[in-house]
């Protein structure tokens, strides 16, 4: 079978590379030698029917599950055994299917909490030595507004997160991820439960972020019809295996993909 070895130029072009990932639950093989490569600065889509192993793959890449075999390579570094928060520090951030905002904080505050290494977060000095963190905070607020206007939440900066709609909450999650310094964002079903108009708005933003800022997106989505036109590359999985990959049109018309969606 031979282990696939990541070559130099592959490492240059691809942010995430998985090599022969295997993950079992009891007797069931959830991931069966999965090899994927996520191109840098592009939007990659992952589709597949229920139980095909998509969520397991995302959990392995983001560090919430450890694989039995295989490797996960992020920016040329083997991160297979790295805990999730270490991956966050490297720039790999995932969002959840159900957004988890800080409900009583304003949109701006939600983004500001994501700032890394804030000197003003030390509770023993924050109240007394304000001058120590004011410059950092000013800079953070600037970045936060920059990001908010990018994701399209600028108008809402003063509103508590509890007043946002489902789609806006997903935008807020993206904003926090970028504030955190993420250059690679894995999203689990960003369009689930969001009305079509907002889905288009959300993906317009995602496209802009990837084109203009070079952010890499890896997106699981079921509502393929809505989002297919926005993505650059697609993977399809079934029964724990990658059954097709390529441009979205090619993958969506692949006979194995069509067959797998109808079940056995």
């Amino acid at each position: 079978m031979g282990l696939q070895v990541a070559r130099e130029e592959e490492l240059q072009e691809h942010v995430i590379i998985t090599e022969n990932l295997v993950k079992r639950f009891g007797g069931i093989v959830a991931l069966d030698r999965v090899n994927i490569r996520i191109p840098k600065g592009k939007i990659t889509l992952l589709i597949g029917p229920n139980g095909s192993g998509k969520t397991t793959l995302v959990n392995v890449i983001s560090g919430f599950l450890l694989p039995e075999e295989g490797r996960v390579i992020f920016k040329g570094k083997d991160i297979t055994r790295l805990p999730p928060h270490e991956r966050v520090k490297l720039g790999l951030v995932r969002t959840f299917q159900i957004p988890k905002p800080f409900l009583n904080l304003t949109v701006l505050e939600n983004v500001l909490v994501a700032a890394e290494g804030h000197p003003g977060e030390n509770p023993y000095t924050a109240a007394v030595l304000r001058s120590k963190w004011i410059p950092f905070e000013e800079e953070a607020v600037e970045r936060a507004f920059d990001i908010l206007s990018w994701v399209g939440l600028y108008q809402k900066w003063e509103v508590p997160a509890s007043d946002l709609s489902g789609g806006q909450l997903k935008l807020l999650e993206i904003a926090r991820a970028i504030m955190k310094g993420a250059d690679t964002i894995i999203m689990d079903e960003p369009a689930a439960g969001v009305n079509p108009t907002l889905v288009h708005e959300l993906f317009d933003r995602i496209v802009r972020l990837s084109r203009e800022r070079g952010v890499t997106f890896f997106i699981i989505e079921h509502r393929i019809g809505l989002v297919a036109k926005y993505v650059d590359y697609a993977y399809a999985m079934n029964m724990g295996r990658v059954i097709a990959e390529g441009p979205p049109d090619y993958v969506l018309n692949h006979p194995d993909v069509l067959e797998s969606y109808l079940g056995g």
Binding site: K89, K100, L105, E109, N122, P123, A126, A127, S149, K180
Partner: protein, 371 residues
Amino acid sequence: MVNLAVMAEQIISFIAVYYILSASLNMKAGMTGIPDFGQAMFFAVGGIVVGNLATRIAAVIAAPELGVTRGEAWKLVITQNTDFVARLNEILPHKPGLSIAMILFSLVIAMILGGLLGWLASYPALRLRGDYLAIMLLTASEGLRVLATYTVSIMGSTPTVGLTAPNFFGFTGNAPLWTSVFALIMALLTYVYMESFHNSPGGRLFRAVRDDEESAEALGKDVAKVRRDAMIIGSAFAALAGVVFSLNPWTTGSSIAAQSIFDRVFWTFWPWALMILGGMASNRGVGLATTIVVALLIGPIRLYKQDIARLFHVQAVGIDVGYFANALEYILLGVLILLVLLIRPRGIIPEPPSWTLKKDKIKEIARKYQA
């Protein structure tokens, strides 16, 4: 006859104690979401430090002038508390250095010990959530109350009688006035601190952890540390409230006893009521609620309960006036809490955002990025 100046001094003292205690609770429960139903035990630390530590040390230092050995002074100040403190009070007015040193000593040591106890209590706070944690802290406070009540070496006093602390403000010439001023200054400093902390990235982080721990963790925040810090700092302030209470004869009624400083109604449940009334995580709300409620309710009731009760002519139906006054406070507390929960669950001033920079400054930055 009601002496207005005295009344003002007394009420200000009560407001100060309650504000510091409620603000401390607000940091733990309102901002960080730790349901601290054991607030009384942190408060009691302040009482113990003043009653059993500062009092003894002052006695030991002043022993030669009182004609006893230092070893005797250490014991006598407890065993013959009233007499010995009376003698001490005669010479303390001439010793401003010692008095001030003892006040500062009480403040510093109590805050350190309070913080330490908060740090200990933060261990269950990291493992337990919600109502279980509330019960756990309540039980811990009750357990410490029993320990302190029956262990003379902790309280320095027998269970019910209590200790009288020396008058450390005698040197000012007008002790009642200056104890009240001292209490007021402590309360104002607490207010400034809490306001400043709320409007800092640290305050924002506390509130974020309260809203969603997992999300904070996912953003790389050390949630355990945040909860621990909130318990330490918050509890230190509770101990500070205990010191302000214990140094002040207006509030103690001249006696510090385990029964009174561990009282969970006075030092746990009233602060909860005040915090909920003011608005959780709303420092201004807590300050406002404390001022109004203490000035109009707690203060007058505690101080003039007999007079108030007489207004109701309850003797006519065979109800004891003193009992009625006590009952009145509880009924008012209960009804007040229920009304707030039903009518204004977010309090009189709902939680504000953390204005880390001036609002104008933020708006100025905002304008730059108007897409």
